[in-house]
Amino acid sequence: MWKTVVRRFLVMIPQLFVLSLLIFIMAKFMPGDPFTGLITPETDPARIEELRQKAGFYDPWYIQYINWMGNAFQGDFGRSYTFNQPVANLIGTRALNTFWLSLLSVVLLYLLAIPLGVLAGRYQDTLLDKSIVFYSFIVYAIPTFVLGLISLFFFGYELGWFPTSGTVDINAEAGTFGYVWSKFYHLLLPAMVFAVLGTTGVIQYLRTEIIDSKTMDYVRTARAKGIPNNKVYSRHIFRNSLLPIAAFLGFTITNLLGGSIFIETIFGYQGMGQLFVQAINGRDYSVITTLVMLFGFLTLLGSLLSDIIMSIVDPRIRID
C-alpha cells in the first residue's frame, strides 16, 4: 500500500505543476494588480510604478512564473502585497483555522446526516422519511448566508450562546486549556451552520443507497438467517451503504474548503476561503496561486485518503 501512496504522491507533482501554470496565467489575465488598490490622491503614481517594477509585474509572465516557481520550491511563496506579509506566514494560520473548521464541520455533518439518512432510507415512504427528505431540501434551498446570518443573530446575539466573531478570545492564554476551549467554542456555531447546510447530499445519497441495498440478495440472505431486523440494518445494509459516502469523504472535505468562503465571511472567521476572496479582489497573485495550489493539493490528498479508506472498508478494493 505504501508503494501506491508514494506513487500517487509522485503523480501529484505534474498535476500541481499544470495547475500552478494555469492559475498563474489566469491570475495575470485579471485586470489590475495589487497596487491598483493603493491609489489615493496622496499616493505618488511614480512610486507605485516603481513598486510595480520592483515586484516584476512588467516582466513577461513566464519569467514571473519561473521566478515564482523557483522560490516556491524553496518554500518561499512570494509576498502578499495586500497583506504585506510573506504568503507562507499569511496562509499558515488561516489554513489551520480552516482546517479545524472543516474538520469539526465534517464531524458534525456526519453526526447529523448519517442518522437522518439511515432513518429516511430504512423507513422509506413513511412520514419520518418524508419529513427528513423535506428537511434536506429546505436546508439545500436556504442560501448559506441567510442561514448563517439568522443563526448568528439568533444564537449569537439574541441568546448570547455563542461568540459572534473571531477565532479565539483575546484574553485566552495560548497553550492553556482555556485557549483550546475558546478556539473550539468559536468554531462551534459556524461549524454547525456548515454541517446543517451540507447534510443534503449525504442524506440523499445515503437514503438512496440504503433503499437500493435493502433489495440486495445478501440482505435477503441475512434476513433468511433469522437475524433481527435491527441487526440486518446495522451489520449488512448500513455498512454497505456507507461505501459511497466514504468514497466521497475526501471530496466532501475539499468541498467544505470551498464553501468556507461564505461561512468565514459571515462569522468573521479568518480562514482560507475568506482570504481567497480578498486576494481575488486585491489581485494578490502570489496568494491566489498559492491558495489554489494548496486547495489542489488538499483535494488530491483528500481523494487519496478516500481511496485508502475505501480499501480498508471494502475488501474488494485493494491498493497495492
Binding site: R220, A224, I227, P315
Partner: protein, 339 residues
Amino acid sequence: MNNASELLTISDLHTGFSIKDTYYNAVDGVSLTLRKNEILAIVGESGCGKSTLATSIIGLHNSNKTRVIGEIKFKDLNLANLSEDKMNKVRGNDIGMIFQDPLSALNPLMRIGDQIEESLVYHTDLNQEQRKARVLELLAQVGIPNPTRTARQFPHQLSGGMRQRVIIAIAIACKPAIIIADEPTTALDVTIQAQILDLLIELQKETGAGIILITHDLGVVAEVAHRVAVMYAGQVIEEAPVNELFNNPKHPYTRSLLNSIPQANSNAERLQVIQGLVPSLINLPREGCRFAPRIPWIPAEAHEAQPALHEVAPGHLVRCTCWKHFYFQSEDEMGGIVE
C-alpha cells in the same frame, strides 16, 4: 405417510401484492405438504408464483404491501401470521434458505466465516469458540477443501460454486428441519450444478430435513425430487410423485413442459409446446381455468367452472378437467394464437 412425518402443511395459501390499493394474488390457493426426508420440487415458468410461495413460507415479503391469507403450519405455528420476532426464531433455525444467485447472496464486506457464524449467534447457545469450530465443521461438510482459510476470506475471493456451498452451509448451520432451495443451481455451470445437487441430496440424507426445491429445470427435478408440484399462474395445477409425473403427466401445461425437454433418443421432430406467456398478475383470469386462454382450441365445456384438484391416481392431483380433452395442435393449426 402418517401425520407425524408431515413437516410443513400449507393450506389454501393466498399471497397478494398491493397495486393501486388492490391486492393481486401471486399465490392463489396453494395447498401443499412437505414430509420428512422428502424433496418436494415446485416447478413452473418464471412468474408462476413459485418464488413468492417460497418467500411466503419464510416470511421474507414486505408486510406493508403484501397480504398473506391461509395457513402455513409448521410444528404448532402458523407461519402465515407469525410476528416478525417469532418468525426470526424460525428462519435460519428451523427453515434454511438457499438462494439462486451465489454471486450476490453473500455480503461482499463480510468474511465468509462471520456470515456463517451469524445464524449461530442468534439461534444457538454456543460460545464463540464453539461457533468458530462449528463454522469450520460446516464448511468441511459442504465440501470446501480448506475451511480455515476460506472462513477468513471474502466472497469475491471464491468461485461461484464455492459460494453456493457457503450459502448452503449458512442454510444448514442450525440443522434446520426444512430447507428451501430457490433455484439453487440456475446460476452455476453444469458440472458445478451436479456437484451442488449431489451435496443437497447427501445433506438431506444425513439430516433428514425436508427440502422444497424450487426450479424450472425439469432435469434437476427428475434427478433429485421425490414429489413434484407444478405451478401455473399462482396455482398448483398438478402434483404427483416424481415418476408418476414424468411417466404419466396429465395437465396440458405439464405435458407441454415435459415436451419442451429435448430427448436424446427422440427423433428430431418438432417439439410440441404450447405458445404464449404466463399472464401478468393484473391480467390474471379470476374465474375458470387459468390455462384456458392458452389452449383456445380446447372447447370451453371441457373446463370446470371452478377448477379444483382431482386425485387421478394415489398422490397424483390434477386441476380442472380440461386435461381429459387436451391434444396438441398440429403445426398447421398453430400460428394465429396470441397468448
